[in-house]
């Protein structure tokens, strides 16, 4: 029962790891890594859902009656593209933040903002 649904366990595990990194780490790059793991877990979820036991690739051919559902796979291609765009944008922002603040640590950025606010 538990082993039979091992793909879900992996998904949940990855999701929690990713989510934890996003929340717990102050480093902007590490946060993005966590975010990517978090997203990837969802991709795996979709992909494994589309899998049909003993199914082959969905290509029409003689003698094949069972094939995997292609739709989730197609969907997730889109989601992967979106994920890449998000990561790219996030990294670009991190670079700009590094230029502006001189660091990529959350608490340091907040400390600098606080200092600025007190001054003005």
């Amino acid at each position: 029962m538990f082993l039979g649904l091992y793909n879900y366990w992996i998904v949940v595990l990855l999701m929690m790891i990713g989510f934890y990194i996003v929340i717990a780490h102050g480093n902007l790059i590490k946060k993005l890594v966590g975010l990517t793991i978090f997203q990837t877990s969802v991709f795996i979820f979709y992909i494994s859902v589309g899998m049909v036991e003993r199914g082959s690739a969905p290509i029409l051919a003689e003698g094949i009656s069972d094939y995997s559902n292609p739709l989730p796979h197609v969907l997730i291609l889109t989601a992967i593209v979106v994920g890449i765009a998000t990561t790219a944008l996030g990294l670009a922002l991190a670079i700009r933040i590094k230029e502006a603040y001189g660091c990529v640590e959350e608490d340091e950025i907040q400390r600098q903002d606080q200092l600025n606010e007190d001054k003005s």
């Binding site: 859902v49 739709l71 989601a79 979106v82």
Partner: protein, 492 residues
């Protein structure tokens, strides 16, 4: 031509966004973007008229029949939303050229317009589509361009705000993605109306409950519903003024639409409201949000922050109306959606004008502006009165229906709390008014001139709309009523 209206709404700005790069001169790009968004505005008016006349329009993308293909489904609800977004988007864009001259570097202007159009595309797409996965894609299009738009702000804190928004927004979007995936797993379809019929059979399963929870939490993150609002204040405060005006008037509205669409159309009222305690949870969060955000707004020093917190409070009102779960309640919520777009559009644009003239929106810098920028400041006063809910402004209309809805449903305490919430609005609005009108101009500052007409035009167009739709409520009330009645399956 008329048959292709639903898709044109989305495709037009999508195609126009890259075309911006072929026109180098900032002013040319502005005119081009303006024409495109005005065209979408006309398009949405045509759509609304068509829908009100002959009912829901179904458009099959590429001729593929649903549920195999993606279909766009325009009913009264999303036609109304399309109109709001496209109108605000166009009006705000009027002031863009002037504003970004001051607030952005020359080489970023084209980027700005192209992102603006992309963001618009995303919002139209979310609203127009009848396909659940498509919602996710468009959500990310609009969000990604919004993050980039916010990061364009000159203040370095804009970068940090955009980053935070990106993290929170992506988590929200991924939650939505999980929810949609689970729904697909259980039903094998992504088409919303198809989902609605198939969910009936599997509605009791734990997977559907989980899908529902993921979707709601994800949407509430986008909605900035208290306590998931943390990304919003800084994102609004440090983004370029035009972006703030645009996002404040549209982005959260789209999320409210999604909430309504998923709970009413996809899951159905009986699942969303009877099987799960959604009503009480959202009602409490809405009320707490109104008070917490309004009180926080009172203590802010940056006027953009004041209005940003006020936006969170207003989202609270929309959620209250929604969670009353009657036709009147949802209607009040939709009305407030429309009205709030008008108020916040006007207010944030006026702040843009202030930013243009004095380069800051700190409350202390507002001293003496009442005399120096009379037209801009009186716009802020009228917008503020509307926010408070004074009669003859749109704010009053939505408050009135919200109160009626809560009394009708027998929720007297809610009515009282709504009224008390608007008292808090008086306090934060009056802090601005007093500073602007009663304090002498800051010493050592050169005399400030009134904002240029390119600002005053759109600001006052919105201010006049605030008053006009506060007096002539036929259009807004009629459409909101029709939309909410169709959600509840009542034939008018």
């Amino acid at each position: 031509m008329l048959a292709h209206l639903p898709v044109l709404q989305v495709v037009l700005p999508l195609m126009a966004a890259p075309l911006c790069w072929f026109l180098n001169r900032s002013k040319l790009v502005w005119i081009f973007a303006l024409i495109v968004s005005a065209a979408t505005c006309v398009n949405s008016i045509l759509l609304l008229m068509e829908v009100m006349k002959s009912g829901t329009i179904i458009y099959e993308l590429g001729g593929w029949e649903a549920p195999w293909g993606i279909e766009y489904r325009i009913d009264k609800l999303n036609a109304f939303l399309l109109l709001i977004i496209s109108t605000i988007g166009t009006v705000v864009l009027f002031a863009a050229n002037t504003s970004i001259q001051k607030e952005l570097d020359e080489d970023r202007h084209t980027l700005f317009y192209s992102l603006y159009l992309l963001s618009l595309t995303g919002m139209f797409g979310i609203v127009a589509t009848g396909d659940a996965f498509n919602v996710f894609v468009f959500l990310e299009i609009s969000s990604l361009s919004a993050y980039a738009l916010i990061a364009l702000g000159r203040d370095r804190r804009a970068l940090w705000a955009a980053y935070q928004y990106l993290i929170m927004g992506t988590i929200g979007a991924t939650f939505i993605l999980i929810g949609i995936g689970m729904l697909y797993q259980m039903t094998g379809t992504l088409n919303m109306s198809d989902l609605a019929t198939r969910l009936v059979d599997v509605g009791h399963t734990r997977t559907v409950f989980a899908a529902f929870a993921f979707l709601i939490v994800g949407i509430c993150l986008k909605l900035a519903l208290f306590p998931l609002h943390l990304w919003l204040p800084n994102a609004y405060a440090y983004a370029p003024s035009i972006v703030t005006a645009f996002l404040a008037a549209t982005a959260t509205k789209v999320a409210v639409y999604l909430l309504i669409r998923f709970t009413f159309t996809v899951f159905g009222i009986s699942f969303s409201f009877t099987t799960l305690p959604l009503q009480s949870i959202l009602m409490v969060l809405g009320l707490v949000g109104v008070f917490a955000a309004s009180i926080t707004a009172i203590y802010q020093q940056n006027v953009k922050h004041i209005l940003a917190y006020s936006s969170i409070a207003q989202v609270g009102y929309m959620i209250i109306g929604y969670s009353i779960n009657t036709s009147t309640g949802v209607m009040a919520s939709l009305l407030h959606l429309f009205n709030h777009a008008l108020m916040k559009g006007a207010l944030f644009l006026a702040l843009g004008a202030v930013m243009y003239r004095i380069g800051s929106v700190q409350l202390s810098q507002f001293q003496g502006l009442g005399r120096q920028m009379p037209l801009t400041m009186s716009a802020i006063v009228i917008g503020g009165l509307s926010l408070i809910g004074v009669p003859l402004t749109v704010g009053f209309v939505s408050k009135w229906y919200l109160l009626i809805a809560s009394v009708e449903a027998g929720m007297w305490p809610v009515a009282v709390l709504i009224l008390l919430g608007s008292l808090l609005a008086i306090v934060y609005i009056w802090r601005i008014v007093e500073t602007a009108y009663f304090k002498p101009p800051l010493p050592g500052r050169e005399a400030v001139k009134e904002a240029p007409w390119t600002f005053l035009g759109p600001i006052w167009a919105l201010v006049i709309a605030n008053i006009y739709f506060g007096i002539d409520t036929r259009l807004s009330v009629q459409v909101a009523q029709a939309a909410s009645q169709s959600l509840f399956g009542i034939n008018p």
